[in-house]
Amino acid sequence: MRIPILKLHDYLLISVQVDLDDQTALQFQEDVLNKIHQEGSRGVVIDLTSVDMIDSFIAKVLGDVVDMSNLMGARVVLTGIQPAVAITLIDMGIVLEEVPTALDLEQGLDRLQQELEG
């Protein structure tokens, strides 16, 4: 299973709408990095509105994708994390440190613009 990655000018837009198994999550990580490289993208928005569970493995994959993209020179913003998911992550003691987030896709794009200009 592959998660579609859309290109919009300098940005990549991704909406995760499947129940992430480990293999899909790792494939996604690789696909994002390859797409950044291929398109020369400066920013990425990963929208998690449809994701109803993030466990420690998926949290690590997402945190890593942010760090890896930063290494390549692209900024990543995570958007749309559901209340139940946020509560569960904090319950678990998982803190996505220094990961930019925003409420929704629109604010995520604004956030990216700030990050890249500021």
Partner: protein
């Protein structure tokens, strides 16, 4: 009638199947969306541990009742290498797999009851319960 379900874990797909089964049962028992996420996440962590450390095992999920309370009970069983130092695996950030080390201590915090039975070279059984509030 008591509801229960059983998922064999022998691939990564088993992890997804177990958490989908768990969410369905948690919803049927009457848990709200936040507790459904807690239960589903706990199952995902337990199933992944089975796959990662024992290669295969089972996740058994059933309705739990105790003196008027209702809840969901998850039993994760494997015949893997066992946990040598149970105290150690319950420490935040301790990992032998390169993960976040949030798995088992995380499950304990997400759920209301949590018990590990593990014998080196014989296997591990983790029993955990979440009660309806």
């Amino acid at each position: 009638m008591q509801v229960q379900t059983h998922v064999d874990i022998h691939s990564e797909w088993g992890i997804v199947a177990a958490r989908q089964a768990g969410r369905k049962l948690a919803r049927e028992i009457g848990f709200g969306s936040v507790d459904q996420a807690r239960v589903t996440t706990a199952i995902s962590e337990l199933a992944r541990n089975i796959y990662l450390y024992a290669n295969k095992g089972q996740i058994h999920i059933e309705e739990a009742t105790s003196s008027g309370k209702r809840g969901i009970k998850i039993i994760a069983t494997d015949e893997g290498p066992g946990i040598k130092d149970v105290r150690r695996v319950m420490e935040d950030g301790y990992t032998t797999s390169g993960g976040l080390g949030a798995g088992l201590p995380g499950v304990k915090r997400l759920m209301d009851e949590f018990k590990i039975d593990s014998e080196p070279d014989e296997g591990t059984t983790i029993t955990t319960v979440k009660w309806l509030r």
